[in-house]
Amino acid sequence: MNRMKTLFFTCVLAVSFFGFYSCEKVIDVPLNDADREIVVEAIGRNFLGESYILLSRSGSVYDDGGFERLSGAVVSVTDGDGNVFIFVEDLTDPGRYVSFDFVAQPSTQYSLSVNVEAQLITATSSSLSTPVLDSLTYINTGGAFGGSPTDTSYLVFYNFVDNVDETNFYQVSAWVNGVKDDNFYIGNDVLGNGQLASAPLFGTDVRPKDTLFVELLSMDEAAYTYLSTLSSNINAGPFSATPANPVSNLNQGVGLFSVYMVDTMTIILP
């Protein structure tokens, strides 16, 4: 919904005749640099080898040098039964920590512990039940939304049934021909608990003969709150909310610890 709002208001500005007069220019805005924060991107998934923890540091707004990764940290995830999974640093990708045996289980509570730069960062995340993607359907939207009527383009809908016993939060991501679409779609079951959910991948451009790979992730509320506040940040523009840091579930630093249960499906468009 946020994206839609930003999208059409960007249209407002672009299309209006004020476009004749308005102009953009780069200006110099001095900023007070905040203290450097430790950034933790900790993701658990239910497929072996897909879980990782990425540690880096924040930089100044005008820095163009990339983000410093943090090596030499001691990272582990513990599940509800007390099993400890150690994550070791991937030597080919410094700052990225992986595990050989961690596979996320449904309906389990996990806790993260990261010991880096003499700081201890902890967080907890609960996994829910594994979602099931029922099907991917599509409609031909050639000519809509400003496109030429002879173009064939598709709008793909994902369909799945929500688990009525849980309060669920979802994320859907898409890959077109192996390339990940930057857009991601997040939602919850407040309006449709236990019902068939069907929604379009609004911003994903799919053409004939494309291979579309869709991933449906189920996550807990802390992760959903983080991702929705993050998406407002990324989509910030003149008509958006006052920007603020996404609401994180880490005890310090910025970032997220989330354990996802994932289902995937592939479709090839005609």
């Binding site: 005749f17 809509a144 400003g146 069907s198 603020a244």
Partner: protein, 787 residues
């Protein structure tokens, strides 16, 4: 003790001995040319210093004095003062038609009449706009606009280009009550705030109360903008209009029955989209962009004591792209009124008022379409009385009752669309008030207006009402039936305003007011948009409360040629609303869980220097102010500057009449930029760079300044006609008047920032601050006529 009682009795007998035979002089003051009521006109009895009256909103006055013969002066701004001698031996009705002064602004006033109203009246914190002044102040695209002109006065801040609304004394845009003939106008902006919905050709009077409004007004914390439409020329047909580059308008007024009833119809339409058709940009070519306004009013006098009015406004903005996308919004208001004179000392007005604001956004067309809409609708019954007790006291009392209906989100999908989104429940509430207020003058030195307003708000069913915990999660929901009470609030709102006349040139004033606001505009964006939704107070949302204290010093110089005022105010606000970080405000049935409550404070100093007469007229205004908010959950509970906090706000308006036919005007505004939140760092997550923020509103947008210039050329008003008797040529006024107006907005082309975005440069990969500004120089031409 005995001495006290006998003294008191003696005083009572003494005053009743003097108050022996009192008679009442009453009547209506009207414009001799058009028959329009003159409001705020002054009647003074020269033989009794300090005794006088002011006409009410319908031009009615009433004065009760001892029998005798008096010299009485009638005066009104831009009309010729008239003095008559009246013998008052019995109650008398004396109506007067007053002749307008020379048509131009700023004719040198030969009679030297005292226009010292700003010093002597007890009102403070009020800005009045002479609607004729508006005609000469250059505005964007040559459109005369009372709301843009109001923003040139101290204490009133424009929300900036591309933003609808305005801020008064540090309040937010939803805290201004805008009334057109008593009907509230919920969104007074066209085209994202570039123009207001008010066509100044249809207006008679505009008053802005900056917080210390008298007890008859209530419901919004920061200001009341009371706009009165013209009634229509009751003497002859009058047509006026204008053709401009961006819009055109036409106004027709005529009597229904001469001197008894009249009507006025006024319309305006832009045609910006016609120019878009010439564009090379295919996106621009298929765009639809226009707005229109229609004002209509009729009135009729039935007998000596009754008058009936019916007025309405209808306006719409349409924005769209061929038939794939459409966005339209607009207001519709209607008022039916009945004035009745119960006696020559008791005037009453009964009104039925309807107001509706809605918007609709549509994607696609036919079966493949998806439409979201939102609406607010009010039905209001209002009763007001003016009771003119004696020459020192005027009692105003009355009440009103409003039924509000809110439809925050209504969704319609075409049959081809599969996904389902439910409508958000409709909300209903009742807002009512009773007030009583007295204007009293004591010993010709003090004038006090004191009153009390009692307001009440009830949220009623039907509907499902959610309850929330402190994290904003839904903890339950209760169902209510039709008209069932969910939650009630009420409040007492004392209003006091006093002025003490130091000498005939200067006075000091003070005021205190408490106000309650029961409906709130939910807007999570940094700009205000037509899609912002109005929400009522409820079991989850408490009413906002403001207490404002103000003091002022008013002084006139050079025989009232120059007016100076200095006002300082402090306003404290409770139950102010803001949003959780990342709140989901659009189409959220549980939006009440996203709201946070805190407190606010605003204080400032407003200075105004105005030159009213002469070839050169205008004003300079300066406001120094601060407005801040404090919420436990935002900015770690520390006070932070509200977005509309602007330390300095400076305006200069100048109008110069070179000759009878040529006048030049200029406006220069300067203000500190809005408080804004910029990032203080950046990091990477999920492969994307994300901005890191530390303080809320800790930075400022660049300062805004702009010069506008305008030139008005009046075509010849007289023609030479041979006198039928003597054969000589004499000057005769032409019936058809016309003028050309040339204006330039932003004459030196400053690129004022509309927004600043931090983006990664696609070529170099470096983050840079990119400023978007909306206007450089915008010239405009328009042709105006009247006959």
């Amino acid at each position: 003790m005995f001495k006290l009682i006998s003294c008191t009795l003696l005083l009572i007998f003494a005053s009743s001995a003097f108050g022996q035979e009192k008679v009442t002089l009453s009547g209506h003051l009207t414009d001799a040319d058009s028959g329009e009521d003159l409001l705020g006109a002054r009647i003074a009895i020269n033989d009794l210093p300090g005794v006088g009256a002011i006409t009410n909103d319908y031009g009615f006055y009433s004065l009760t004095v001892p029998k005798g013969t008096y010299s009485i002066t009638f005066k009104s701004i831009s009309f010729e003062t008239k003095t008559v001698t009246i013998e008052l031996q019995a109650d008398l009705v004396y109506d007067l038609e007053m002749t307008p002064e020379g048509r131009m602004i700023g004719v040198v006033d030969v009679t030297g009449e005292k226009m010292d109203e700003n010093v002597t009246s007890a009102e403070m914190g009020v800005d009045k706009i002479n609607v004729k002044d508006v005609d000469n102040i250059p505005v964007l695209f040559g459109e005369k606009d009372i709301m843009k002109t109001m923003q040139l006065l101290p204490g009133v801040k424009s929300a900036g280009e591309g933003n609808s609304g305005f801020y008064v004394r540090g309040g937010s845009a939803d805290q201004n009550l805008i009334l057109l003939d008593e009907a509230p106008v919920y969104n007074a902006s066209h085209l994202l705030g570039f123009f207001s919905v008010f066509n100044s050709d249809a207006l008679k009077d505009v008053k802005l109360y900056k917080g210390g409004a008298p007890a008859e007004y209530g419901g919004r914390l920061s200001s009341v903008m009371d706009i009165k439409m013209k009634d229509g020329n009751a003497k002859q047909l009058s047509v006026s209009g204008g053709l401009g580059l961006i819009s055109s308008k036409l106004t027709i007024e005529a009597p229904i029955v001469k001197d008894k009833g009249s009507f006025i119809v006024s319309g305006r339409r832009t045609y910006a989209d016609l120019f878009l058709g010439f564009s090379n940009n295919p996106a621009a070519e298929n765009s639809i962009l226009y707005f229109y306004d229609l004002n209509a009013k009729a009135n009729y006098r039935i007998g000596k004591n009754d008058r009936v009015f019916i007025s309405g406004y209808f306006g719409r903005d349409k924005f769209g792209f061929s038939d794939q996308f459409g966005f339209d919004w607009g207001n519709a208001t209607g008022t039916v009124r009945w004035n009745h004179l119960y006696s020559d000392r008791l005037f009453g007005n009964t009104s039925f008022i309807f107001s509706n604001y809605n918007y609709k956004i549509k994607f696609g067309s036919g079966d493949d379409s998806f439409q979201i809409g939102s609406e607010i609708q009010d039905i209001n019954f209002k009763e007001d009385f003016n009771f003119y007790i004696n020459s020192n006291n005027t009692l105003n009392f009355g009440g009103n009752f409003i039924h509000h209906t809110f439809r925050p989100g209504e969704i319609e999908t075409g049959s081809d669309i599969d996904f389902v989104l439910n409508d958000i429940d409709e909300r209903r509430s009742l807002e009512s008030a009773l007030y009583i207020s007295n204007e009293q003058s004591i010993k010709n030195r003090w004038k006090i207006v004191y009153g009390l307003r009692y307001s009440n708000f009830v949220q009623i069913g039907p509907g499902n009402i959610y309850s929330f915990n402190e994290n904003g999660d839904i903890t339950g929901s209760t169902s209510y039936g039709n008209w069932e009470k969910v939650q009630a609030y009420n409040g007492l709102e004392p209003r006091v305003s006093a002025s003490y006349i130091l000498n005939e040139k200067s006075s000091i004033k003070g005021s205190f007011a408490r106000t309650y606001q029961y409906i709130h505009l939910v807007s999570n964006s940094t700009s205000s948009l037509p899609t912002d939704v109005w929400m009522p107070s409820s079991s989850n949302i408490k009413p906002q409360i403001a207490d404002q204290v103000a003091v002022g010093y008013f002084r006139n110089f050079f025989d009232n040629m120059l007016e100076f005022s200095a006002e300082a105010y402090y306003k404290g606000m409770q139950n102010v609303i803001d949003y959780r970080d990342g709140a989901e405000v659009t189409l959220n049935p549980a939006v009440e869980g996203e709201l946070l409550y805190g407190i606010g404070r605003a204080y400032g100093l407003e200075l105004l220097l105005k030159k009213r007469r002469g070839k050169f007229t205008g004003w300079i205004s300066y406001t120094l102010s601060r407005t801040e908010r404090q919420f436990d959950e935002i900015n770690n509970g520390a006070w932070y500057a509200a977005r509309q906090d602007r330390t300095h706000d400076f305006s200069i308006v100048a109008m110069y009449n070179f000759t009878e036919r040529i006048s030049l005007s200029g406006t220069w505004v300067y203000y500190t930029g809005n408080a804004v939140t910029f990032p203080s760092g950046k990091y990477e997550i999920f492969g994307q760079p994300v901005d890191l923020y530390s303080e809320r509103n800790g930075y400022r947008m660049p300062n805004y300044h702009r010069l506008d210039l305008g030139l008005t050329l009046l075509n010849k008003k007289f023609k030479m006609v041979a006198d039928p008797i003597s054969g000589e040529e004499v000057k005769v006024a032409k019936r058809f008047e016309s003028s050309w107006n040339f204006s330039v907005y932003n004459a030196y082309g400053r690129e004022n920032a509309f927004s600043i975005d931090f983006r990664t440069n696609e070529t170099t990969g470096v983050t840079e601050a990119v400023q978007l500004s909306l206007f450089k120089i915008v010239p405009s031409v328009s042709y105006n006529f009247k006959f």
